[in-house]
Subunit: 155 residues, 2 copies
């Protein structure tokens, strides 16, 4: 078990695009309850089952297990209400790793940037392309987006 | 992924007790939705994460992964609303394996017998101690019992 501390932001322009290669992610949820989210994720030939249990708005216990990719595909088909599709770009900036997620399908149009921290109080430099922080807005979790995709949000 | 076909019965007397040794099971649920139940189980030094996705009242897709016992204990503590405790007795009868579960704690007083079949139409001989079939009664699933324990059922 690991502790995951994460902050999440909107992305305000496209200037980050030249900084990294993207990897395609597909993920579905067996539970979207913040006290016990259960995620199935496929990246390339690899797949994982991940359980997160919320400790605070930005901290979660995380348990992750590699599973056969064929199992993950079957789980997404048979047991997940919707699959979230995105390309994840990993960008190093001022000593921290940022992950920018570009969503597709029903979540198309959404860009989110996440930073993982070792402590809730850790300071970091905000890159120019970083927009408003949405860590405390539960709508921007992938679990929520799997049930209420971005394109269906009231404008 | 395997297909699990299971029928479930009440137990009407104690005559099965001399037929088998019991093993203690502890299990909690990260999702109790029949379309995607996620179970954490500890038996002795072993632990598993199991996902079942309902196909029909008696059939489910099943995906099971061994996980470290310490993870399972932490998951039950941190992320499962309640832990179901039981002793499971495995009893061979007329060519089939029966599992009799004797529940404890908030589910104390409940005895259930399960048989796993290779096909929904498979015939089997009912042992004398077998009571009413409850396969179609969702209250007798362990997932339901983890949220609505037997001792709190209206009498």
């Amino acid at each position: 078990m690991a502790m995951e501390i994460e902050r999440r932001f909107l992305v305000k322009d496209e200037s980050w695009r030249d900084l990294a290669e993207g990897l395609r992610y597909r993920q579905g949820y067996l539970s979207v309850d913040p006290a016990r989210t259960v995620r199935v994720r496929v990246v390339g030939d690899d797949a994982w089952l991940t359980i997160k249990s919320q400790v605070s708005a930005m901290s979660r216990h995380e348990f992750e297990y590699a599973i056969p990719r064929a199992d993950a595909e079957q789980l997404m088909d048979a047991a997940c209400p919707m699959v979230v599709e995105k390309i994840r770009y990993r960008i190093k900036y001022a000593g921290h790793l940022w992950e920018v997620d570009e969503f597709f399908g029903e979540n198309g149009g959404l860009l989110l940037a996440e930073i993982e921290l070792s402590d809730e109080a850790t300071e970091f430099v905000r890159p120019d392309w970083l927009g408003e922080e949405v860590t405390l807005d539960g709508r921007y979790t992938n679990a929520y987006l799997s049930q209420n995709p971005y394109r269906r949000w009231p404008k």
